[in-house]
Symmetry: C2
Subunit: 236 residues, 2 copies
DNA sequence: AGCAGTAATGACCGATAGGTCAGCAAAGCC
DNA sequence: GGCTTTGCTGACCTATCGGTCATTACTGCT
């Protein structure tokens, strides 16, 4: 984004790859892999078509690189979350969920997600990378929090422990809904987040008291954590 | 699927559209709209390329028709569900959820869903049809059941009432997961369904007592609550 | 059998877009 | 300024594929 306004050639070996990557990602997200044209990507990057191929051998390679470039930060974020900070499991889980909703609503994460799912069959390695960086990592974090919560008596021994992906299912739903049906049927953001929390903590509630401290509406001040109860009720 | 084994021309004006539709759907689901080739669809239908165009003017038209052909049954199913049968709201909701999981696990519904979401931007009308037939209809049914449950005191006044799509979020997650990550990380079917029920009825529980009659684990003996109906499901 | 009428065919067309490469010009060096 | 290196260019090549249409041959009618 410098002074290429006219069309004097400029040689900037260093800056190109990043710009092309960004342009590619933009075109791919808004048109999809197939319909995106290399020439448009080039123009968007302020570069001639041939130049793109000097940095990425094929369209597929560019696509993978572009998506990967957005997967890296995810990894970093998950890494940070792994260094479990102080706080009750309830607070941690609540924070994870609220963050997920923010990510879904205020970033291009849903588009990336959609692309990965869309082109999955065609780019198995990309699917695998996404799984490793996002899905598996996320599951690991969640599982750790859940285990801690169970140990502390905050959570009961729920089936969610065996299907941790369920914890984020409502966020996935929010992402897909926003991406596709926002026009026809806008997502009720507040209710979505609130309902999400109700579902998760309702399922995990260690006894008669549901985890309503964690389920206060988003705007309200942070709730205090519940005192850990003894013996979580076990079924079966 | 008759005796076109050799290649004598056969004129079967009646049977063609259905066969072509089916072939198209198959190719579209396994390759996606863009990569699917009309010639392959034709061959798969046991027909020459030109013939396909006698029944469907363009590739887009065939695609829409193919997807629509699978949307119709959905409508019928929803219709049936709308005629609310006897039973408590809890039982009805449980049945809806169990059915959704069966649909997700044992049919090609996830593929259809994926295609609609994938090609949504390119086929807005298809997105709209899908929304009208599946999403809106589903929400309507769910909302009706929830309202009944609240009126009967079975459910509390949850945020889920304002975001009914959340009820089926875990099923969506199951569908997407199965479609994309099954290889890398098989879905724990039982735990998914069980967790799903826990989340929904946990959030809706009208008081301290969570709706455990609806959340009995798959393998365990009959739930210990006095509930004459709602036989525990038997599968696996 | 002869004869429409028309379903079905597949060679062909034209547009699109991924990928190439011979040459050009900017940057660096003397 | 002149020379070399090499990042960059865009005209060009070519494979692919949606869509067409003149021709073929199957079916039913008389």
């Amino acid at each position: 984004m410098t002074d290429r306004s006219a069309k004097p050639r400029r040689r900037r070996k260093e800056a190109r790859p990043g710009e092309i990557l960004e342009a590619g990602l933009a075109e791919f997200t808004e048109r999809g892999f197939g319909p995106a044209r290399m020439e448009d990507i080039a123009r968007r990057a302020g570069v001639a078509k041939g130049t793109v191929f000097r940095y990425f051998p094929t369209k597929e390679a560019l696509f993978e690189a572009a998506v990967q470039s957005r997967l890296a930060p995810v990894l970093a974020g998950a890494q940070a979350a792994l260094a479990d900070p102080p706080g009750t499991a309830t607070e941690m889980l609540r924070a994870l969920i609220v963050d997920a909703h923010r990510g879904v609503m205020d970033s291009d994460m849903p588009q990336i997600m959609r692309m990965v799912l869309t082109e999955g069959p065609r780019f198995p390695q990309l699917l695998e990378a996404y799984h490793r960086l996002s899905m598996a990592r996320g599951q690991e974090v969640i599982q750790r929090v859940l285990a801690r919560g169970v140990a502390a008596g905050e959570f009961r021994d729920s089936a969610l422990l065996r299907a941790p992906m369920l914890i984020m299912a409502p966020a996935l739903m929010a992402a897909m809904w926003r991406l596709n049906f926002e026009r026809l049927n806008p997502v009720p953001r507040e209710a979505l987040l609130e309902g999400h929390l109700e579902m998760v903590f309702g399922a995990l509630a260690s006894d008669g008291r549901r985890g309503e401290p964690a389920v206060s509406p988003p705007g309200s001040p942070a709730p205090r954590s519940p005192r850990p109860r003894s013996s979580p009720r076990r079924r079966s």
